[in-house]
Amino acid sequence: MLLKKYKSVNSTSTIAKKMDYEPWTVIWAEEQTLGRGQKSNGWFSPKGGLYFSIVLPKSTIEDLQTLTILASFVTAKIIKENFKIEPFIKLPNDIFINQKKVGGILTENIIGQDVKFSIMGIGLDTNIEKFPKELENIATSLKIETGKQVDNEKILKQIVQEIKNQLKIISE
């Protein structure tokens, strides 16, 4: 895994899309100024959260739908293993804790004649201590839920490695 870390970017997926990176390159930023969710919705991305995008290996759209679900499953699994809490997966791409959103996955495909490449963006509210008023009833963070500081790099590496492992298992 080639990990590229930035202090602040508009969106890690935008950076990943612009460069011709090798599969499994990971773009990680401490904050995003234009974090994206689905259908042009924003993703609140202040310092403290974990925001990264994975350059995926070439695949078909059907595989990519599976990959999004796989990434949700893996993210929930890593949360459960590290923090002993039970996350809820709202299929195919959102993770909730106590009915509040804690993480989301946005897969973006660049398609010409076929799928040229795909980027999987993962946003996880780890060490965010306070959300703006409009989000406080619908969003939460691992720190708010567990009271513990999260090691973002450790969680990132575990998620990427587990996606790779699971992908290997389901492709066999």
Binding site: L64, Q65, Q113
Partner: protein, 127 residues
């Protein structure tokens, strides 16, 4: 099947019967027999199981999967370069940026932002 028809002012009864591999046509007392080329012994019509894949033709951009148009990046009559973003389609919670594979001009845009489209539907015609 029986048909009543007029031939040169005279009423005729035409009887058409299909039997195994043959079509028999009876006009009055005369009988004609033809081989039925479409006859299949088991009588099962063959369904098309292989739907052709929606490949992009050079002249049109089609929806690779069913979804909602989130953004149209070009205007009609606009020139575009190779690999330029044309439309963005949201489907199965994924964002799909459809880019041009060659340079050209946008002839017409057949969809609007927010519109739901089916797989294979033509979105933009190029020239």
């Amino acid at each position: 099947m029986k048909l009543n028809i007029n031939i040169k002012g005279k009423k005729k009864i035409i009887e058409i019967n299909e039997e195994e591999g043959k079509v028999k046509i009876k006009i009055g007392k005369k009988e004609f027999s033809f081989k039925n080329n479409n006859y299949k012994k088991e009588g099962i019509s063959v369904a098309r199981t292989n739907i052709p894949k929606n490949k992009f033709s050079k002249k049109e951009i089609k929806a690779p999967i069913a979804g909602t148009i989130t953004k149209i990046f070009v205007k009609e009559q606009q020139a575009f370069k190779k690999n330029q973003k044309i439309v963005s389609l949201s489907a199965m919670k994924m964002e799909n940026e459809i880019v041009s594979d060659f340079q050209g001009t946008v002839k017409s845009i057949l969809v609007k932002e927010g519109q739901k489209v089916k797989e294979g539907e033509i979105l933009v015609i190029l020239k």
